[in-house]
Amino acid sequence: MKEFLLSDPVTEDFFLFLKNFGHVEILPNVGEGFYKFEKKDCFSIKGLVGDTTLEVRFIPEVMDITVKFLYALFHFYGDGKPDIKTLKQREAGMEKRVNESLYGK
């Protein structure tokens, strides 16, 4: 488990952006809004709206592969105009390597 300290508070918009890449669970009435993102075989992210930290849990065996994609998500979103198409291409490349590493295919 890693905790990421953000320069700005977590927003609902960030988790809606993450929906492009995995499953997002939302409990809007818990705290200021509790959000959980899960990317199978890669990592999960938990956060509360308004908080300046996110909790990320990696699959340890492939963390060296997936952490780069996580940083890309942060970077592209922080840029203000997330390029979903480019991120999707990176996602596909990462998933291929993860599958090879975890399942040998």
Binding site: L27, F34, K46
Partner: protein, 383 residues
């Protein structure tokens, strides 16, 4: 922050404990056989005497210091098994912690013992169930005194009498009860009793140990320097050197002695009463939320285990900590068989106040948990 994870490690510590650690580091140590000096404090003896006073036992030498409760079990269990001739059947319980379950299962896997794990009902181990599990080869019963998930306290007096009538050795893990309630080892039919220093005895992590009534029943499984009988190349038979090897944790034992002195001054009966009252209050409030599942409605120890429908226990702990500053413990609590029975292996949230938790903190924590439950309920209904 409202710290409700005292069943794991207590916090805060009494000021006397913090001062004792500071003092122990500021002065040289005096330990018989280990220094020619005599100016410092003998924390080892002080801690042993404190244990004798708290638990009403025989000689201090029969208290052995270890790194923690798990360490103590890893000395006692293999040590006893090593001294048994012929087949050895052992009984433990589904309420027990991995500190008991894992050593026993490893011994079973190695073919050294056969093992029966008796079930619990309403958070209790019935003496009749233990009696029914006994077979001619039963040599040992190892079980927890207090459950670290359900806060229930077992009737070790009744169980011990059944075992002693049959000559069966009885090891009790008191990690959750030592300091939380009166435990009179002078009157309990228990052969060995394990404690940890960092929970309700208000010491620090890295301290624990056991009381052993008759050391001749348990073999030695660790060997090394004791500061005594040093010309011998074999482990001394004298107590506590038979089991205690290497340099002691002097600051830890100074803290333990101070922590026990604090418990004695507060009184274990008063500590137990306050814990029960706070647990009863928390449970009565949580029961008002229909989507809170409580797993232990009448704990004797200040431990409350629950889940909120529609949320994973880990997420509840996350929200309580981040949004409300309430520190709980989530997951399986190293007690897999309890959770296999109660939560289908998913785990739960555990809150555990201590002597230092105020009623006001309990009210704030309860309000936070109820708000999370209400928020989960309304969020799920929206969806």
């Amino acid at each position: 922050m409202i710290y409700l994870n005292n069943a794991a490690t207590s916090w805060p510590k009494p000021p006397e404990v913090c001062m004792a650690i500071t003092r122990s580091l500021a002065q040289p140590v005096f330990g018989s056989g280990r220094t020619a000096g005599s100016e410092g404090e003998d924390y080892i003896t002080q801690a042993r005497e404190a244990l004798v006073q708290l638990f009403h036992t025989g000689p201090g030498e029969n208290w052995v210091f270890t790194h923690n409760a798990t360490d103590a079990l890893n000395i006692l269990i293999p040590g006893f098994i090593a001294s048994v001739e012929g087949p050895c059947h052992v009984i433990t319980t589904a309420l027990d912690h991995n500190s008991v379950l894992r050593p026993l299962h490893e011994l079973e896997r190695a073919g050294r013992i056969t093992l029966t794990v008796v079930p619990f009902e309403n958070a209790k181990i019935s003496p009749d169930v233990v009696r029914a599990a006994i077979c001619p080869e039963t040599r040992l019963v190892v079980m927890s005194h207090g459950s670290n998930v359900l806060g229930s306290v077992q009737d070790i007096h009744a169980i011990g009498e059944i075992l002693h009538e049959r000559g069966i050795y009885f090891i009790v893990d008191g990690a959750q009860t030592a300091g939380h309630m009166p435990v009179d080892l002078g009157n309990l039919p228990v052969d060995a009793f394990i404690f940890t220093g960092h929970k309700a005895l208000f010491g620090v992590p890295g301290t624990g140990g056991f009381y052993i009534r008759d050391p001749s029943r348990v073999g030695t499984v660790r060997y090394g320097g004791t500061g005594t009988d040093s010309f011998s190349l074999f482990q001394p038979d004298e107590m506590p050197d038979k089991y205690e090897i290497g340099t002691h944790n002097y600051p830890g034992l100074a803290a333990l002695a101070a922590g026990i002195a604090f418990v004695c001054s507060a009184g274990t009966a008063a500590i137990a009463k306050k814990g029960e009252q706070q647990a009863a209050y928390i449970i009565s409030e949580l029961k008002k939320e229909p989507n809170i599942i409580i797993y232990n409605e009448t704990p004797e120890l200040p431990i409350i285990a629950f889940n909120i429908e529609g949320m994973e226990n880990d997420d509840v702990g996350f929200v309580l900590a981040r949004a409300y500053g309430v520190i709980s413990r989530t997951g399986l609590h190293c007690a897999p068989l309890v959770h296999k029975t109660l939560t289908n292996g998913k785990g739960c949230v555990r809150v555990s106040p201590s002597w230092f938790t105020t009623d006001g903190e309990c009210r704030v924590a309860v309000k936070a948990i109820r708000e999370v439950a209400q928020g989960a309920n309304s969020s799920l209904n929206q969806a």
